[in-house]
Subunit: 434 residues, 2 copies
């Protein structure tokens, strides 16, 4: 073997049911791929060998619902009633954001996510072709969409920026470098109407794209949909074909039992955003019920405007403890099961499950190393427990995507962090405060 | 002025209502005290000047309910049903812990807490006189107790180790170096009986000590108490004099409206342990109701055996978002209010409010510096929001107690961290796994 990188003496949390945990193991990478994973040493040479007995290697994290360009509004208007928050603060501030401001916020959010172990994002916001360029530069994966949204009665695709961006993403970036995918975005049933959904579903089918949308986030929007259409948002979207390709539905807090059956039957991923749902007072997703009924549940932060960070460790632990406390059952969502939400299930949501989301020979090297030589990770009785309940974003010592190191020992390898921080403060921030 | 240390150009989140936030400010320390705090520079000299425009200084955190010696069981038995967890795992493992093992776990937990901004602990466990020595060496503050617990019908104080430790703590360590306080510990109403409570209350009154106890953590224990005594745990403890000195009651998840009136009237602090209560499926404290009714609510992690870490930032954010999501009101527990739980209210719980818990001239220099020059803390629209919703334990750049620096830039100044990690792995851990 002619390895580019060999990890030696490591613990590997593979997320592969065939052999979940390896200790004192070797993981070898050639190009983009994992080509060796065993407790035996590979034969041959390695350009770089990393002896790291204190490292736990695991699949990189999938943050499957973000609005990264909103990070310039992190902490801008916390603790307000929802209507005040949106109408008096968020919408007016968003209206002032220039493309450059959004790009600056995108870059900082990617840097933040990558440094905390995220290898792939599902992002829904504006100016997504520029985001695609940024992700290619950063070296991470991303499913990107500027979501359809039309608050008037008539929709003209020729003047809709979201449709234009979708066309550009599909033509120029879909599958670019195995990292970027164009998703068809639909903001929500309460912000558009049947003609838009038919167009979106048709485009997704024609081009073989995934769909990304918000679904039953708040009780108010869910109930209003039932009042208006006589159907739940999930039933409505299914009727108009939005579940005909693979769909990722963010939130799903107020879905009914019948909705859950639809999601399970149609292979729709329900994204769990526990921190955002709590902070914005949307409620608590019935995650354990969704899982029990066979729905693929993935994990996400939502925007930093909602939950104030772009790192997944907080929500990972929150997902694992919240349902125990609400349902009064300490056995719900055990650590190893919860980890699937942030890894394998996220890869499925993004249609990347064949090459990513677990560590196995032949899969892409999309992985992170967590440094366990920290007081708060000692002792370690159970690796999955330690990752979920004790690890922090700052314990990520290395983030790799497709065999490329994006972050190592506090340094971003593909992004100029000082420039990014400068742009956030001097390009993006003045749009809001100036 | 002849300062030992001058912070220059800093932002100060004082937690002092008179002037909550100062920007581009100076904070001067002489000996144990804050002697200067203003946007003007002090006159005179400083032995050390720290120019830190990216630092936010705030009071150090108070972790007001811990069992630090249990950290050796961090992640030992997660995700089990409560009875299985206790009877099959935790109690048998605890029975094997030697004094040396507990001391090793204590040391590591203190190191973990100090590095994540905690300046004071309320600890209830075994071998607390040794813990007092350790806290004096570490330089932090602590209210310590080995709690009364008697599962038989007869109690003999002469053979009770908890009573012996209480006497030693009171005689040799109470008020030691202004850092240590002896508390009278009562484990809970379900693990002792009236004669024990009368002894405890009498001792507390005689020596002017605070009381620390568990109260209505689970519905089962609360209901069993009502069935057995015809009174709630709070009413029962009040009757037997345990609220006659200042008392800190951990959990208070299932307290009734009448209980809340008792707690408010008697100045009892209700400790909020949101992470532990969720993970152990105890439920959710009605924190916003307690606060509204005038109860002093402080914050805590509980043991690392329950919630797997000894750092308060996770629970700080959790306290601020959980009640919003459960009560469906995004305006509950705003960031600045939630910060009081971890600072001022904690100082009150420990009877340290005259000298600690806020930054003001004349108060002790019990403070932390948070480094805001991190991607996830940019931009900062509101300092309190950023601390509560975006900051991580790893952002603590400096922890100081009584003017002494305990931790700075990744280094523990009073503790030998390599020795501590070694002892945890080679002294404490073998007790459990060997």
């Amino acid at each position: 073997m002619n390895l580019d990188l060999l990890f030696r003496g490591i613990t590997v949390l593979t997320m592969d049911d065939a052999r979940p945990l390896l200790r004192d193991a070797y993981l070898g990478i050639e190009g983009r791929k994992i080509v060796w994973l065993d407790t035996k040493a590979p034969e041959g040479t390695a350009a770089r060998t990393l002896d790291a007995p204190h490292f736990v290697l695991m699949p990189g994290l999938f943050n499957t619902h973000t609005h990264l360009g909103m990070s310039v509004l992190r902490g801008y208007a916390d603790d307000y009633e929802l209507d005040t928050w949106l109408r008096q603060y968020i919408w007016p501030a968003e209206a002032k954001l220039t493309p450059e401001a959004i790009l600056a916020a995108d870059a900082l959010s990617l840097a933040e996510g990558i440094a905390s172990g995220t290898v792939s994002f599902t992002d829904m916001y504006f100016h997504e072709p520029k985001m695609a360029e940024l992700c290619l530069q950063a070296g991470c994966m991303a499913n990107l969409c500027n979501a359809f949204m039309c608050l008037t009665d008539e929709y003209d695709p020729n003047t809709d920026r979201a449709f234009q961006e979708l066309q550009v993403l599909t033509r120029d970036y879909h599958n670019a470098d195995g990292r970027i995918k164009a998703d068809v975005g639909v903001h929500g049933e309460y912000t558009s109407f049947p003609a838009v959904w038919e167009l979106a579903a048709g485009f997704a089918k024609e081009h073989g794209l995934n769909v990304h949308l918000h679904l039953s986030e708040t009780k108010r929007e869910h109930d209003a949909c039932v009042a208006k259409y006589g159907m739940t948002p999930a039933a409505l979207f299914e009727k108009y074909g939005l579940f005909d390709t693979r769909t990722t539905a963010a939130h799903c807090v107020h879905v009914t039992d019948e909705d859950v059956e639809i999601l399970a039957a149609r292979g729709v991923t329900a994204v769990h955003d526990p921190g955002s749902n709590l902070k914005l007072a949307s409620g608590v997703q019935r995650t354990e019920y969704l899982i029990k009924k066979g729905v693929n549940v993935s994990l996400a932060t939502d925007s930093a405007c909602a939950i104030n960070t772009n790192e997944l460790f907080y929500d990972l632990k929150l997902a694992a403890i919240l349902h125990k406390g609400i349902q009064l059952d300490p056995a719900l969502l055990p650590a190893a099961e919860t980890l699937k939400l942030a890894t394998r299930n996220g890869a499925y949501a993004q249609s990347r499950e064949k090459e990513s989301g677990m560590l196995r020979v032949g899969m892409d090297a999309d992985l992170i190393a967590i440094d366990f030589d920290k007081p708060h990770l000692i002792p370690c009785h159970d690796v999955a427990s330690s990752v979920v309940y004790s690890a922090r974003p700052s314990d990520v010592a290395l983030t790799m995507c497709k065999g490329k190191i994006l972050y190592e020992n506090g340094e971003w390898k593909t992004l100029d962090i000082e420039r990014i921080k400068y742009d956030m403060l001097h390009v993006a921030l003045p749009c809001v405060t100036g």
